[in-house]
Amino acid sequence: MTKPNKPGQQPVPPAEEGSGLAGWIDRRLPVISGFRAEYIDFRMPKNLNGLWNFGAILTVVLLLMLATGTFLAMHFTPTAAEAFLSVEAIDRQLPGGWLLRAMHMTGANLFLAALYIHLFRGLYYGSYKSPREILWISGLLLLVMVMATAFAGYVLPWGQMSYWGADVISKAVGAVPVIGNTLEHILAGSDHLGDIFLHRFFVIHFILAFLVVAVVGIHVVAVHVAGSNNPVGIEPKTPKDTVPFHPYFTSKDLFGLVLFALVFALLMFFWPGLLMEPDNYAPADPMHTPADIEPEWYFLPFYGMLQSVPSKFGGLLAAAGSLLILFALPWLDRSPVRSMRFRPICRAGLLVLVASFVVLALVGKHHAQGNWMALGRLATLYYFGYFLVLLPVAARKEKTRPLPASISAAQGDA
């Protein structure tokens, strides 16, 4: 092991790589010194908590999804007649196929789960504020792309839920005024959901997954330019506020990753039923509508909005708007204080927002029937109210708690 980097010490300039092949390469393409600067000597705020593990976790899950997905794609047949059977063959006859598919399915669920936690962390600690607006926007773009990828992926096994979920979405798109029918037809590819639709979604699923990697690249570059935010939300002022990435965050990320892998393994090996929809193991049957059409859990809050808003198009606008509004967040919340630790009103408001999101998921699960409808409308109103009213007003009126002088001071070791 190299000599440990003492905290508070200026990063040592990269050793001269003048000789040998490594030096020859590095002078032409600085991958070695670049890696050293960005992943070994890179200064990180020293007060990051466990919520900052999810960036690394998401990266690793993404790689797992690409690896397993590539091999699944080799055995998948994107036609309405064969798709279901080819997935069955992967699960049953392909050696190790069941494990490959289990990893891909568990990975999809936990990818979305980790993404929601990552997003919550950004909201809670104000990571969207200057100078991290592009970081925030690229992250939201990733969220939207991942959701689209997940939806396209769920269509592929062509089970009952795949088919009828796709049916609900294409009908929802059809509710757009004037161009709705055209859009619906473009999405479906023909007058019914069949071979063309399935083949397109297979290609979309595959391409989006790799485009996600590209946007992750932008996202990571952005975080290395602006630096990580931290739980107190003030920028590091002296080297005492920071530690080098290695070994401090390599060790911390490893711990987080292994803990995440443990949850992953427990779900995948012992409780796969928690994440799986049994109805999707019946082949798609356009003649037979299932009693209960329900999206995967990660779409339920949006499904709840879609269903609790009175007009179909209104519901579509609300569901889409709930994501789009996040893009404007850096300009809606103008408070100079980032972390909710020092913003008592917004902090409470954000926790209610999380509760509304959960309530909306339950509304979606119950198809906004009876009292769920009223609850869903209330939660939808609150969701938009938080971003459009509470945050802009609080930015001017809220009495924030005093900020600590520095990160070290906040940790009590100034």
Binding site: A89, L254, L262, A265, A282, L351, A355, L362, K365
Partner: protein, 260 residues
């Protein structure tokens, strides 16, 4: 309003919402079939191979006359401990449509281990036409799709009542079963005492057959459960050890900060 009082309210609202969810859900559902003890239950459960093999006998002699299981190949039966020779012999005993002969006449050929289970009907439409309008459902994933899988299958297979209880609706061509939708079903009671003979000498009562074939159908829905649980235990143990090491390393590294 303070943050903590708001927090309390939030949790109250969530709690009420959850309570509201739980109540109608349990009221609306049909009663759950009585729970049986299965060796494959739970996170560490394993299939009982002897029961699986008996269950296949029931499937092969009884269920497969009407129900397909088109996702499985004969080779998959190695998963219930069938020998390669027994699998080949079994596949050989089934006739599959072969290529047309020199005169263009259809031929048949004996099955191979890679063939999928032979369907009892040429198509779903043919099945529906012959079986009174409803095609018997494919059994590849039946135990997974049906809520309470094995428990329901067992309750259903042992749930025929002949004659039906007084006051029960009577429809010609339908049979009374306590666990069928609306208590009436077109499928006649498939199992009779001694209807099959088990090679291992187990007495083939209706209950025994129901138990074994339910086990077999759960296996068909989740054929890699044994391997999944077995590999899972190893992986989880490995990760726990790795977690402890990672934790110790992280502690050791971060302790350096305390000195300053």
């Amino acid at each position: 309003m303070s943050a903590s009082s708001l927090l309390r309210r939030v949790s109250l609202v969530c709690g009420l919402a959850l309570a509201a969810v739980a109540a109608p859900a349990s009221a609306a559902e049909t009663p759950a079939p009585p729970h049986q003890k299965w060796s494959f239950d739970g996170a560490f459960g394993q299939f009982d191979q002897a029961s699986l093999q008996r269950g296949f006998v029931v499937y092969d002699h009884v269920c497969s006359t009407c129900h397909g299981m088109r996702s499985l190949t004969y080779n998959d039966l190695s998963g219930i401990g069938m020998s390669q020779k027994a699998i080949t012999d079994l596949a050989h005993s089934k006739q599959f449509p072969g290529p047309a002969d020199e005169d263009g006449q259809p031929t048949t050929r004996p099955g191979t281990p890679d063939d999928h289970f032979k369907s009892p009907f040429a198509s779903d439409a043919a099945a529906a036409a012959m079986m009174g309008g409803v095609a018997p459902p494919d059994q590849s994933r039946l135990a997974l799709i049906k809520p309470h899988g094995a428990d329901w299958l067992y309750a259903f297979l042992t749930g025929y009542r002949m004659p039906p209880p007084p006051g029960a609706p009577m429809v010609p061509g339908k049979f009374y079963n306590e666990w069928a939708d609306g208590h009436l079903i077109g499928m006649p009671p498939p199992l009779v005492d001694g209807g099959v003979t088990f090679p291992d000498g187990t007495k083939a009562t209706v209950e025994q057959q129901a138990r074994d074939v339910s086990t077999f159908l759960v296996w068909a829905s989740d054929p890699h459960r044994n391997a999944r649980h077995h590999i899972g235990k190893g992986v989880v143990l490995y990760l726990i050890v790795l977690l402890l090491l990672a934790f110790a390393w992280k502690k050791k590294i971060w302790k350096r900060l305390d000195g300053n």
